[in-house]
């Protein structure tokens, strides 16, 4: 750590307030590094053992679970960088999917009307979460746990009220379905494999979130709010509005994923999405987000989702006993967090 990194500052007029940082250290302080190493390791591990896993069709197969998870994980990562959690994110994918199905089928509306109604519902829930958290100052963990449970009850209660059963279905014959399918659930052939359009949306959302975080004023506000809310407010960051916007972003992602589910599956179960919220957080944490806020990355969260997708389908490709899946996932989470902690400690030492 002596030769390349420190350099020889005396040759030019150096600013003594700045430390020269070598390329290796610059790489290491990136939050997504742990996830990248993990993703490469997991891919190599499965690809070496299963020919199908590394084939184009196999890749398309495991990109599918990674895509919808990834869209949520990116939004959840933004929220976590902003210093908050949203435990209602998982069940909200169910709420929005059920809204699409019920409005379109039971109220006999064009599917795009139903999708619009669903977006409004999602934004209202997101605003409610954010408003309550910023207004009361209570931990978002508690507030969104409340909305999570309320939505779980509403999903079941309202579905049974409107459809008489616990599933809302029949979307395939609704007007506008073909165009909605094209946007949310079509497939395209890339290198001989049928790739779901959700994968493209996932890449697009990751790129958008990364740009917002790193290149815009709002991105700076997110880091500042999550790092230290009081300090952020003191220097003029609208912390309250930033938090509410982040909750509404998560809700919008849940709307997008919920709509994708509804259009793809054409029938939605009342318990859809329950329990997924922790998986989103796992993906974000593997991707380098800190639970305390102020640090993390959107690309990292996407890589976390990718690891999850590869693991989820890698295990059946190797014909292993799927009972061990969650053990593997849990071990992965622990190692990712430990690796991140070490990298971060090193990075902080390097900054001094």
């Amino acid at each position: 750590m002596d030769a390349g990194a420190a350099g020889e500052p005396s040759t030019r007029r150096a600013d003594e307030r700045l430390t020269a940082v070598g390329p290796l250290r610059r790489l290491l302080v990136k939050p997504e590094l742990g996830a990248l190493v993990g993703a490469v390791a997991v891919f190599t591990f499965f690809a070496l053992q299963s020919e199908v896993f590394r084939s184009a069709r196999g890749v398309a197969n495991w990109l599918d679970p990674a895509s919808t998870l990834g869209i949520m994980a990116v939004a959840v990562a933004l929220l976590m960088i902003g210093g908050h959690f949203d435990l209602s994110a998982g069940v909200m994918t169910g709420t929005t999917a059920l809204t699409v199905a019920i409005v379109a089928v039971e109220f006999e509306q064009n599917i795009w009307v139903a999708i619009g109604v669903s977006l409004v519902v999602a934004l209202l829930i997101g605003f409610f979460n954010g408003w309550l958290v910023t207004r009361t100052g209570l931990p978002s963990f508690i507030i969104t746990l409340g909305t999570f449970l309320m939505l779980q009850g509403l999903n079941l209660g309202l579905t049974k009220l409107f459809t008489g059963t616990v599933t809302a279905g029949g979307l395939r014959s609704v007007p506008g379905y073909a165009s909605a399918e094209w946007v949310f659930a079509s497939r395209m052939t890339i290198l001989g494999a049928e790739v779901r359009v959700a994968v493209l949306w996932w890449v697009a959302f990751t790129a958008l979130a990364t740009w917002v975080l790193l290149r815009t004023r709002f991105g700076n506000w997110v880091f500042a709010t999550g790092g230290d809310e009081v300090a952020a407010r003191n220097v003029g960051v609208p912390a309250r509005r930033t938090s509410i916007a982040l909750f509404m972003t998560t809700a919008t992602a849940a709307w997008f994923v919920g709509t994708t589910l509804a259009v793809r599956l054409t029938s939605v179960q009342a318990n859809t999405g329950t329990g997924q919220e922790l998986i989103y957080i796992v993906a974000a944490v593997i991707g380098g987000c800190l639970l305390t806020g102020g640090f993390g990355s959107a690309i990292g969260a996407s890589l976390g989702a990718l690891i999850f997708g590869m693991t989820q389908l890698g295990i059946p490709y190797l014909r292993w006993d799927a009972d061990w899946f969650y053990f593997f996932l849990g071990a992965m989470l622990l190692l990712a967090v430990l690796a991140n902690r070490l990298v971060r400690r090193y990075a902080e030492a390097a900054r001094r």
Partner: protein
């Protein structure tokens, strides 16, 4: 600064280390599985993909049935399950990509896995559906269905309860989103010829389920029978009846050791046995017959494995079979 460098090396190596550990652990596991199934020719390989939650006793018996058939017939049988319909569909896609010779799939939510099942059929892989979804099986191009007609089973339970004098039945549903459960309760109402009150509980939270059933029994003292749809919930319902000081009888769908002892000691009236071992075993036989001889069964009509009623008259013989994990 050697310490951070060493830590860093560890951090980078950690995921690799994990991967290698998992290789070791699971290679021995996979080896065992292949060894047990490698008795016969081993040419065919079938995938069984269900919607059962991992660790559900009911689906464990299905898995035992499928694996026993694989062993008996010398077929490589792989069992996977995921309760989420989208992930179940992805597992079906994975099996199609692997080019297996046959797929067995349970259909709790037929619409959600329709595309994947039809893709399997289009790829020339024969599909047998099991458990629920029998009415959609032929439409998706499956060569057959092995299951229990939930409405018929529910009616059977309702008639049995009526014969025991029940008039006001609480029907405990433990999976929100499973149409089969709704059909069982509706069938029970038909068979009983009286009102059946549905009650929603969560199979993953049995203590919560117990207090929910207790409070329902305390709230409506007219309830004279509790019908549960799962053996684990039945054990909980027996406790609830005792807690509430009610004299309601408990009857259930599905068997396990607790239900059998319950029937033996009289705390459970009867169990509607779906005989799900057959839902694991028979599809493997059907797929083999189709693969080797192009046989189908009943022209694709559902093969019904239930309802079989287990009560005080036959419980002792069945007790031995259940402890072996086949009933």
């Amino acid at each position: 600064m050697p310490a951070p460098r060493r830590l860093l090396a560890f951090a980078l190596a950690a995921p690799l280390l994990l991967a290698s550990c998992t290789t070791d652990g699971n290679e021995s596991d996979g080896g065992g599985g292949q060894g047990s199934a490698g008795g016969g020719s081993g040419d065919l390989s079938f995938s069984v993909i269900t919607h059962g939650s991992a660790g559900d006793a009911f689906w464990d018996v299905v898995q035992n049935g499928a694996e026993a058939a694989g062993e008996d017939l010398g077929i490589d049988v792989d069992y996977q399950s995921d309760g989420d319909p989208q992930r179940q569909a992805q597992l079906i896609d994975a099996a199609v990509n692997q080019g297996v010779d046959g797929i067995v799939v349970s259909m709790a939510n037929p619409d959600a896995i329709q595309e994947s099942v039809e893709a399997a059929v289009a790829a020339g892989i024969p599909v047998v559906t099991i458990n629920s979804g029998g009415d959609r099986s032929a439409e998706f191009g499956a060569i057959g269905h092995v299951g229990q007609d939930e409405t018929i089973a529910g009616e059977g339970a309702g008639r049995e309860l009526a014969a025991d004098g029940a008039r006001n039945v609480l029907c405990v549903i433990h999976e929100a989103g499973n149409i089969g459960h709704e059909q069982r309760c509706a069938g029970a109402a038909t068979g009983l010829g009286a009102q059946v009150t549905p009650l929603q509980v969560d199979i993953n939270d049995l203590t919560g389920a117990q207090s929910t059933i207790t409070s329902q029994l305390q709230g409506d003292e007219g309830i004279d029978a509790v019908l549960t749809l799962n053996s684990a919930v039945a054990a909980v319902a027996v406790e609830s009846v005792a807690d509430a000081g009610s004299d309601a009888k408990v009857a259930t769908f599905d068997l396990n050791q607790d239900v059998i002892s319950g029937i033996q000691d009289g705390s459970i009236l009867f169990a509607v046995d779906q005989q799900q071992y057959e839902q694991g075993y028979l599809p493997i036989v059907m797929l083999q017959l189709y693969a080797e001889n192009l046989n189908t069964v009943g022209g694709g009509q559902p093969v019904l494995t239930g309802p079989g009623i287990v009560d005080a008259t036959n419980v002792d013989e069945i007790a031995d079979l259940a402890s072996a994990g086949t009933r």
